[in-house]
Chain length 239, copies 2
Amino acid sequence: MKGLYYSSANVSERQAAPPSLAISTVIFALRPSESSGRPTLWLPLVRRIREPFKGLWALPGGPLSHSESLQDAAARNLRETTGLAPSYLEQLYAFGGLHRSPTQRVVSIVYWALVQPTEAALADESENVRWFRADRLGGLAFDHNAIVDYALWRLRNKLAYGSVAYHLLGEYFTLAQVREVYEAVLDRELDPANFRRQLKATPEIEETGEFLQGGKHRPPRLYRYTGRPGLDPDNRSTP
Amino acid sequence: MKGLYYSSANVSERQAAPPSLAISTVIFALRPSESSGRPTLWLPLVRRIREPFKGLWALPGGPLSHSESLQDAAARNLRETTGLAPSYLEQLYAFGGLHRSPTQRVVSIVYWALVQPTEAALADESENVRWFRADRLGGLAFDHNAIVDYALWRLRNKLAYGSVAYHLLGEYFTLAQVREVYEAVLDRELDPANFRRQLKATPEIEETGEFLQGGKHRPPRLYRYTGRPGLDPDNRSTP
DNA sequence: TTAGTTTTGGTCAAAGTGACTATAAGTAAG
DNA sequence: CTTACTTATAGTCACTTTGACCAAAACTAA
């Protein structure tokens, strides 16, 4: 793992140097809670190995390389820290407050990503990379707590719009699994019958002939999501 | 008007130099159409006075000064090009494609703003600053056409959410004026009675005792908007 | 066979929406 | 002064959506 933020060689040399530019990524995945066993939101953090905030946990990130787009840099963050490929990746916000870092002026363009649980299960973890429950983070480095809060807010909003929950699941899923995603993200219980009625009314959810076997009760039908991701400027040309 | 984009002294000297960082702003205001007289969306552009794209029109923008936040820089853009203060200012997106500028790698953090018509009427205009109808822009410099398109898309979306139309109007307004804003932005006609019913159901719109005098017909009641702006990361701490 | 659990389909009332009609209140023309 | 015209405002009605709830279907485990 390389240094998190680009540090220009000699800050004192050029007072009027432009703010340095970094890319960070908030990566969400679903994992079963240790206590209840129900799916909950987790995200990977990396430990700071240098000042400032040495030893604290922070979002994966790094400088923007000269030859990669913003989204490519975010995908590289993801791959380098967790070894995973995202099923969803979207720009979150550019954070540019004056005092985000005590040592230098840093503008961070932050992305947020969703990864599917099959992948998330075999994600890299090490001394300096660890997954945390999204609702039980400690105090993070920089303004990263506020960034995660905003990413959670955005996730909740996008969920209501309706195109994003499926990227936290595998290719095939039951309607009850989708409901569990909603319940985990929104943190409230939903009526199974009503929730199912709404999903069945959305044309992007396609009924398959398969059923999930091996459960303890009536085998639920498996569905598939056929909608395409959003309409970001970055994703607009992909039809 | 200073140069639009920060140009590092010697690009060839440092191939690995970080991409330069610029702030641009899409500024919307309502002006009566010359033809129909009904309000339409306009925005100010500045003429490029140097290469690349010399002579073409572009969004107001400039480098990010070391001592100002992103939002401050956007507000300064606005003040310097039009002399106006925004009634609404929000981050739009960070554009970082590799080939946005033919001469150097530029990452632009773009804001969008709304100004009230009373102010917009006395906006500065000059040889190098001119207002254009948002639906009749020519070919702009860089990727600025795509940026304006995305800003329009965002404006239309925020309109539906319901907190943003009033920032295009003065402090007092009639419900028909709000409807005209919606019709101008969404580009379709709305039923006056139904539209009025919905507005009267939103608690942020407060009925005043005043009426708009001087019209040709029955004087409409004036209303006032009492809601607070959004929940951007930048605006979150302001209660 | 029976109890227990989840899936799945349905009802019902309340709330919201779109199309439309009607009245109120002003100006402008004769 | 009266009438035509225009906009503001209120209300109706059918249709859809939503939340709360009930019940049958289909499987496992005892």
